[in-house]
């Protein structure tokens, strides 16, 4: 394999990871504010369908993405309403919505199966595209990739560099403290859960309009759960989450290449890699294994190592707050 091929493969990895990155950013925002949106898998499916159908019928990609975002936001709003207002278990509601989104997409999408439809055109960014190596990998893609990359930076900046981001995080970490300091915790949680859900919806449209164009039953099945795991792996940071999504894409690409290089190894061995990786990675980031490891590390290394390995969820993730 020569370097052009390697660059081409890396470019594909970036493209295929783009929807995952968008979904991970959305879920990170939601969880940072204290709301787990476990419905992601169903929400991705239904929004992928909605995005494709809307774009197909109207001919407008923008409307496709908006329709998908609306579906994602609706799912998130149901989770938020159920937990924040009705004080029900977020995990249970999310799980049911994940199932329901799957069956709804299968039912409603029946007549749109495999139809040729619109897709996001590729557009190379002038100047940037000519940067050696990085240009072909990151800047000869389509708008979805640029949106995903930009979203990572904006989300990171918003979460960690703005006052509103601080309030968002405080709603997820110490809602009582935030409330006592005048933060409207519940309102914020609604806002960011719905915003996060809308991003998940756009990720769905990113699949059906850019990465896996068109619609078929079960189009993105499983990706929502993987995105949820990547949020954990990413330590609830959009940057680390994006790296996680890219690494995940890389392992899948590697699995495809390995299958061709090692025909004697059973096919399923390569398909198992992402799932084995999921277990290993979650083992690594869980406090139980990481903490003793960190304790033994030299003090100078502890901080960089921790930011690499450790991932504590927002302290009040999934917990209700009584504001009355």
């Amino acid at each position: 394999m020569d370097s052009t091929q390697l660059i081409a493969i890396l470019g594909s990895i970036v493209l295929q990871a783009a929807p995952l990155i968008i979904a991970v950013c959305g879920e990170t925002i939601s969880e940072r504010a204290g709301v787990i949106n476990l419905s992601m898998d169903g929400s991705l499916l239904l929004s992928a369908l909605a995005g494709f159908v809307a774009a197909l019928l109207t001919g407008s990609l923008l409307l496709g993405f908006l329709a998908a975002a609306a579906v994602g936001a609706l799912f998130a709003a149901i989770v938020a309403f159920g937990s924040l207002h009705l004080r029900q278990n977020q995990v249970a509601i999310g799980f049911v919505l994940a199932m329901l989104g799957d069956s709804l997409s299968a039912f409603l999408g029946q007549s749109y199966t495999r139809l040729p439809g619109p897709s996001v055109p590729s557009w190379h960014i002038p100047l940037l595209k000519d940067i050696p190596v990085l240009g072909p990998i990151f800047f000869r893609q389509d708008a979805v990739v640029y949106f995903a990359l930009l979203l990572v930076l904006v989300t990171w900046w918003f979460l960690f560099r703005t006052r509103a981001g601080l309030e968002l995080r405080s709603a997820g970490e110490r809602p009582e403290a935030a409330f006592s300091r005048g933060v409207a915790v519940r309102k914020l949680r609604y806002l960011y859960a719905i915003l996060g859900g809308a991003l998940v919806g756009m990720a769905g449209a990113a699949y059906s309009l850019s990465v896996k164009i068109g619609w078929a039953e079960g189009h993105t099945r499983g990706m929502g759960w993987i995105a949820l795991a990547i949020v954990i792996f990413g330590g609830w940071s959009p940057v680390r989450g994006a790296i996680g999504a890219l690494l995940f894409g890389a392992t899948k690409a590697l699995a495809t290449l390995l299958q061709r290089s090692f025909p004697q190894v059973a096919l399923v061995a390569f398909n198992a890699i992402p799932w084995l990786l999921m277990i290993v990675v979650l083992l690594l980031v869980s406090g139980k294994l990481a903490a003793p490891l960190l304790a033994r590390a030299p003090a100078a290394l502890r901080r960089p190592l921790r930011s690499l390995l450790q991932a504590a969820p927002p302290a009040a993730l999934g917990q209700p707050l009584d504001e009355s």
């Binding site: 493209l15 199966t113 164009i213 495809t256 290449l257 299958q259 025909p263």
Partner: protein, 391 residues
């Protein structure tokens, strides 16, 4: 509940009686069709579905009951037997089970309903005698069409690398994939004057007839991976259209790539400009023949492996399999391809002409010999020169 059941059975009996008296016309004739994928997948399942519709159009009064997406991943509550029960209850006297996946179950269920005629597509139980007397097999002789597909790819490639997105490994897929390779090899040598050993032909199996997320490899990613690593023509052997979709997307971004879809006449629609053509199944005429025979009460067991109408590969009233040139095929390539087709038609050239070695180097078809139906149908491995797993 039980009383209701008896009532139901009585109703069925009535329907059956009515159909018996219907005779030749097909009036009151109901047949069932069971599909493994969605009926509009632009691939394997849609080709069958349209074959069924062809019967409905040409056999006046015939009615079709369809059940699609019968696979345990999508519907744990449905079994072939349960669906057949229901179809028989609705009056079906002929049932097409259109996947290799249904082979064993069809044989079992056929024994349960000896008065209903079963046709399993791509199976061989009627050939081997494992199936009961009311079961027959139909398959299209796709091998030459795949060879034509391979030829079109070899005539077009600029990098000398072809990629084949395969479903799962069995006799059927091995022989079809190998046929594509043999056609490509022949044309690469004959029409382009290249050394056929320089032609790289790589097979990547996804693990099932179509993508099941998390279970199979994703054909979108497999195709991307091919195109990233120098392959410029992708051939599809799976039920669905991912390969041509991805290639179309690449072409829109100014890459010189092409695709050859499979199964369904209309499969080029997804990206016409880079579609070199499609080897397709045309089940209609064969299904009509079977349905008419059943409706007229003169059906008898058979194992059909029907070939194309060599005079016109796109004559939908007569050919069982066919080839349709795609808009992406250059005029020069089209001319060469027409030549290849005419030689295949005349028998001057045979796809499975020896010497052919298997992938592990063992001799399979001797020099000067042509592979027998049996040898082709039960091909045990890919053939020498192909890259990719054989099991």
């Amino acid at each position: 509940m039980h009383k209701k059941g008896i009532l139901f059975v009585a109703l069925v009996a009535l329907l059956l009686a009515a159909c018996g008296s219907g005779g030749a016309s097909g009036e009151g004739f109901t047949f069932g069709m069971i599909l493994v994928g969605p009926q509009n997948d632009h691939g394997w399942s849609q080709a069958h579905y349209e074959g069924g519709q062809y019967v409905v159009e040409h056999l006046p009064g015939a009615e079709m009951i369809v059940f699609d997406l019968l696979n345990p991943a999508d519907k744990p509550e449905a079994t072939l037997e349960g669906v057949v029960d229901e179809m028989v209850a609705q009056g079906a006297t002929l049932i097409f089970t259109t996947s290799d996946e249904f082979e064993e179950d069809t044989t079992t269920v056929a024994a349960k309903y000896p008065d209903v005629t079963f046709v399993n597509i791509s199976g061989d139980d009627a050939l081997t005698g494992e199936g009961p007397a009311n079961l027959s097999n139909v398959m299209g002789r796709m091998e030459e069409m795949k060879a034509i597909a391979g030829c079109a790819a070899a005539l077009t490639t600029q990098t000398g690398q072809l990629g084949y997105v395969g479903p799962l490994i069995n006799h059927e897929t091995l022989r079809l994939t190998a046929s594509a390779y043999l056609g490509a090899r022949h044309c690469y040598e004959t029409y382009r004057g290249e050394d056929p050993d320089d032609l790289e032909f790589t097979v990547s199996w996804i693990g099932f007839w179509f993508n099941i997320p998390g279970v199979t490899s994703d054909p979108t990613e497999v195709t991307s991976s091919f195109l990233d690593t120098g392959v410029d023509v992708v051939l599809s052997g799976i039920d669905t259209t991912e390969a041509i979709n991805v290639a179309g997307q690449r072409a829109a971004a100014d890459h010189a790539v092409w695709a050859v879809p499979y199964d369904y006449l209309g499969a080029c629609e997804n990206a016409p400009s880079i579609c070199l053509g499609v080897p397709f199944f045309n089940w209609g005429p064969d299904y009509l023949a079977v349905a008419t025979a059943v409706a007229e009460g003169r059906w008898s067991q058979s194992w059909l492996w029907n070939g194309p109408n060599w005079d016109d590969l796109s004559d939908l009233s007569s050919t069982s399999v066919g080839w349709l040139n795609g808009p992406g095929l250059s005029a020069e390539a089209a001319a060469n391809l027409a030549d290849y087709i005419s030689k295949l038609a005349s028998g001057e050239v045979a796809v499975w002409a020896g010497p052919i070695n298997l992938q592990d180097g063992s001799a399979y078809i001797a020099a000067g010999a042509v592979g027998s139906d049996e040898q082709i149908w039960y091909l045990p491995q890919l053939v020498e020169g192909m890259q990719g797993p054989s099991q």
